[in-house]
Symmetry: C2
Subunit: 286 residues, 2 copies
């Protein structure tokens, strides 16, 4: 990650300042919000929760990842809540990766890119099944991109582990595309799930040595820190050069299953869980 | 397409009533809207244009396809416009396929599905790179699904024509996934671009014999009706059983390049172009 691209520079700085590689996902699910919030209009509840998450994690983590789906569930009211949460995160100096997994081409992708950049996102998750023209318009709009390479769900194997006649798996093919598009600039990153084994993750890192890798699947999905460490860039000297961002969402946002309203303030609860995750992850032994 | 699934039944009925296989894409691009609309707030301009498109095409085509990206470009204001346009299309008895190319898994996909269904969409375009769990939650929500199999952009070849050790191309692998998930029910469809050659399209049809196929790339992108006819289901006896929906967007919505305000009403212009396309496509010789 060099400072030559707005996203890679901002990301490196934010991770260095935080001193850990944790990203907190902002995935508000109405049924799990503190009762005091869930009683109101959904859009308002999502906004208040999202703003509380930003408040709770500022000072703990450098990066947040709003999950667009959770907001879109409630249509334009949810979308407005997402805009405000992104705005608050930026105002608090957090780097914002919009988890939207968009994947379209040419002028259509340019519309998605303008939409995301216009809301204040600095990076976005992208699906490149349609090819490189599904990625480039986001870069042209000044956004960082994390291309889906290997996703954390068990059934991703069915597609992403298909072996190609040209060599390697489809997931590895996507890793090569990430490298082709981003080179050493750090502006094209990847998504690689923490739930896959360390040898597979290490092989992916070899194919895209400079890409910042966003790693979902830690926490509620059971991903393993030892495996994630295989993605750490060799010789990295600071969090900002490690090339890994480890996301946790539900395990930070919500108290344990079965508990809806935790004792004390829910914002304090989120801050405490974020701190515990950040300490556990640290800089992955680097 | 049997009547056993809400989407396949509604689609068959709408195509039979229209007597042609045309779908009109609703892709409002501010810079191309009639000047009288583009002067206002973007959200309002998009809404007025979308409502005008619905008015123009009702009585000509059975199906419309709002392009989510065009609306999302303007954030929550755009999203609200999209909600209203979808509502108007449903009120006018049109089948609505939301072109959103969403692709996420499990509970996240369920949020996208609830969002789309809650807005009134009956089907949605989906990217299955993440596997079948990126498709199933939409079906569970009662939506029809069109999975991206082979997209119309030239550079889709780089990924979608990769040959697999298990046989065939990646695009064909997605066609098999469509068939696995939908069988004869018609609730799982595909997206196959009109710009690819007839032999390739025919081979895809063999792999997913019952799937309704949404075909972008006709019109502005230069797709060929002869090639599209290769996707027509064998022995189909009516538009509703043909298994093909041919989309045109820009070539219906906008006057020729360089002309912004056409003589006469822009709604009449759209209606006229939609009629010309519908007559040209008809039922693809069936």
């Amino acid at each position: 990650m060099t400072a030559s691209h707005p996203y890679s520079g901002a990301l490196a700085e934010a991770l260095d300042r935080a001193g850990n590689l944790l990203c907190v996902g902002i995935d508000p699910v109405l049924e799990r919000l503190p009762s005091e919030l869930a009683a109101g209009e959904p859009g308002e509840a999502l906004e208040r929760f999202g703003l509380g998450v930003v408040e709770a994690v500022t000072g703990v983590v450098g990066v947040v990842k709003p999950q667009s789906a959770c907001f879109e569930r409630f249509g334009s009211a949810g979308y407005r809540a997402m805009e405000r949460v992104i705005g608050a995160a930026r105002a608090a100096g957090r780097v914002v990766i919009l988890d939207a997994k968009r994947g379209d081409i040419g002028s259509t992708a340019a519309h998605y890119a303008a939409g995301a950049a216009g809301r204040g996102a600095q990076a976005i998750t992208v699906n490149a099944y349609m090819g490189r023209s599904a990625v480039e318009p986001f870069l042209d709009a000044g956004l960082g991109v994390h291309v889906l390479v290997r996703t954390s769900n068990p059934d991703s194997d069915e597609i992403q582990l298909e072996r190609l006649e040209s060599g390697g798996t489809l997931g590895q093919r996507m890793a090569r595309l990430v490298h082709d598009l981003g080179g050493a600039s750090g502006r094209v990153g990847a998504v690689v799930g923490a739930t896959k084994d360390a040898a597979e993750l290490a092989a992916l890192r070899v194919l895209m040595s400079e890409a910042p890798v966003l790693v979902p699947g830690y926490g509620a999905q059971g991903g393993d820190l030892g495996a994630i460490a295989a993605l750490r860039r060799e010789g990295a000297r600071s969090p900002g050069t490690a090339g890994v961002i480890v996301n946790a969402s539900r395990s930070v946002l919500y108290p344990p299953a079965g508990v809806r309203d935790e004792p004390g303030s829910w914002i304090a609860g989120i801050a405490e869980r974020a701190r515990a995750h950040a300490d556990a992850i640290g800089v992955l032994g680097g």
